[in-house]
C-alpha cells in the first residue's frame, strides 16, 4: 500500500491506494497532477526524518508522498 498525504486545515488527509490496483493507481496519478498543478510540492518522505526527495512525476512505487501547499512570504 502507498499513501498520499495532503496537508490541509484538518491537519492532513491521507489517500491510500494499492499499487497492484490499476484503477487506484490511475486515481492517485490524477490526484498527483491536480495537486501539483495547483502549486503543491510533492515530496517522497524518507520515513526517518532525513531529507526526502522532491517528486516531479507520479511514481506509484513511492510509499509516502507528502503534498505541501505553495509557499508564501510572511
Amino acid at each position: 500500500m502507498a499513501v498520499q498525504i495532503v496537508m490541509d486545515r484538518t491537519g492532513d488527509t491521507r489517500h491510500e491506494f494499492d499499487v497492484a490496483d490499476s484503477n487506484a493507481v490511475a486515481l492517485a496519478e490524477e490526484r498527483f497532477r491536480q495537486l501539483t498543478g495547483k502549486g503543491f510540492r510533492a515530496v517522497a518522505l524518507s520515513g526517518d526524518g532525513s531529507p526526502g526527495k522532491l517528486v516531479d512525476k507520479f511514481d506509484p512505487t513511492v510509499e509516502q508522498t507528502l503534498f505541501i501547499p505553495q509557499l508564501q512570504g510572511g
Binding site: 496537508m7 531529507p51 509557499l71
Partner: protein, 280 residues
C-alpha cells in the same frame, strides 16, 4: 572604650581586606603624638610589615587607661594590644565566615550558569568535548573565565529570545501566529511533523519547542520554533542568531504542518523558499 574598640576594629578589618585570606599576625599597636598640623594617630602593625593608621583623640584613650590602669604610653600600648588581639580574633572569624558566604554565592551562581549551559546547548549540539553524563574535567583558570563568559552570553541570548518571544506573542498572539484549527487538527499536524523529524530533532522539539534544520543547498543552520509565522531563525556556526526568515505554506494550516512544510522547504528547495521569504 567603644570608640577605641571601633578604631581598632576598623584598622584590623582594613588589614584583612588588604590581605584577604592570608591574614597576617598582629604584632604591635602604636600611638603617635600630634606633630605640627597632624593629629595624634593610632597604628596597627603586622608581622608582614604592613601597618595601617587612623586618627585618635586623647579622650578616646582615657577609658582604656582607666580600665587597665595604664597611665604611661608603653602601658597604654600593651593594653591596646591586648584589646586588639581580642578584636582581631573576632574580626578574623567574621571575615572567614563572610568569605565562605561569598564562595557559596559564587558557587551558586556558577551552578546556575552551568545549569543554563546544559539547558541551552549550542544550537542543539553539545559543545566539543562535552558529554552530558561524563564527569567534567577540572578546568583551569582561563577555561573557567571563558566558560563564565560563554554562560553570560548564553544568558543574554536567552533573555533576548524571551523578550523577542514575548513581543512576537504580543503582536501575533491573536493573529497569524496563534494556533488555529481544531485541537484534533493540531494534534494530527504535530503527529505528522514528529513522524518526519529525525530522532535528534524530535528530542529537541519536545524538550525546547524548536528543532534545527540544515539547509539543503547552503548547508546553513536554521532553527524552526513552534509557530506558524516568524518562527525561523538562521544561526551562525556558534549557534547565534543571524537573522529571521518568514515563509509558510498557504492555506491556514495548523502549526505542525507549517513547521514540517518549512523544514522540507529548507532541506529540499532552500533557494526557492528564501526567495519567497521575508527576512527580519
Amino acid at each position: 572604650m567603644e570608640r577605641v574598640r571601633g578604631l581598632l576594629r576598623e584598622l584590623l578589618r582594613r588589614a584583612l581586606s588588604e590581605h584577604g585570606r592570608e591574614a597576617p599576625a598582629l604584632t604591635d599597636i602604636t600611638i603617635e603624638r600630634a606633630s605640627g598640623r597632624f593629629e595624634p594617630r593610632i597604628g596597627a602593625h603586622f608581622a608582614n610589615g604592613y601597618c595601617t593608621w587612623a586618627p585618635v583623640r586623647a579622650d578616646d584613650c582615657y577609658a582604656v587607661c582607666e580600665r587597665y590602669g595604664a597611665w604611661d604610653l608603653p602601658s597604654l600600648r600593651r593594653a591596646l594590644l591586648v584589646e586588639a588581639h581580642e578584636i582581631y580574633g573576632r574580626v578574623c572569624e567574621e571575615h572567614l565566615t563572610e568569605m565562605a558566604r561569598a564562595r557559596a554565592r559564587r558557587s551558586m551562581a556558577a551552578a546556575f550558569f552551568d545549569r543554563l549551559r546544559r539547558r541551552v546547548p549550542m544550537g542543539g549540539r553539545e559543545p566539543a568535548g562535552y558529554a552530558r553524563d561524563a564527569p567534567e574535567p577540572v578546568p583551569d583558570r582561563a577555561d573557567l573565565a571563558s566558560r563564565r563568559q560563554e554562560s553570560q552570553r548564553r544568558l543574554l541570548d536567552w533573555w533576548a529570545q524571551q523578550r523577542n518571544d514575548y513581543a512576537r506573542s504580543a503582536l501575533f498572539g491573536t493573529g497569524m501566529n496563534a494556533d488555529i484549527g481544531s485541537k484534533r487538527a493540531q494534534e494530527r499536524g504535530v503527529r505528522l511533523l514528529k513522524e518526519n523529524l529525525t530522532v535528534a530533532q524530535r528530542r529537541q522539539y519536545e524538550k525546547f519547542g524548536y528543532f534545527d534544520v540544515t539547509g539543503g543547498m547552503s548547508g546553513k543552520r536554521y532553527r524552526i520554533r513552534h509557530g506558524r509565522q516568524m518562527n525561523i531563525e538562521q544561526l551562525d556556526r556558534n549557534g547565534r542568531r543571524v537573522c529571521g526568515w518568514c515563509f509558510f505554506p498557504q492555506g491556514s494550516l495548523v502549526s505542525g504542518d507549517v513547521m514540517l512544510g518549512q523544514k522540507i522547504a529548507l532541506e529540499l528547495y532552500e533557494a526557492d523558499a528564501l526567495r519567497i521569504a521575508n527576512r527580519f
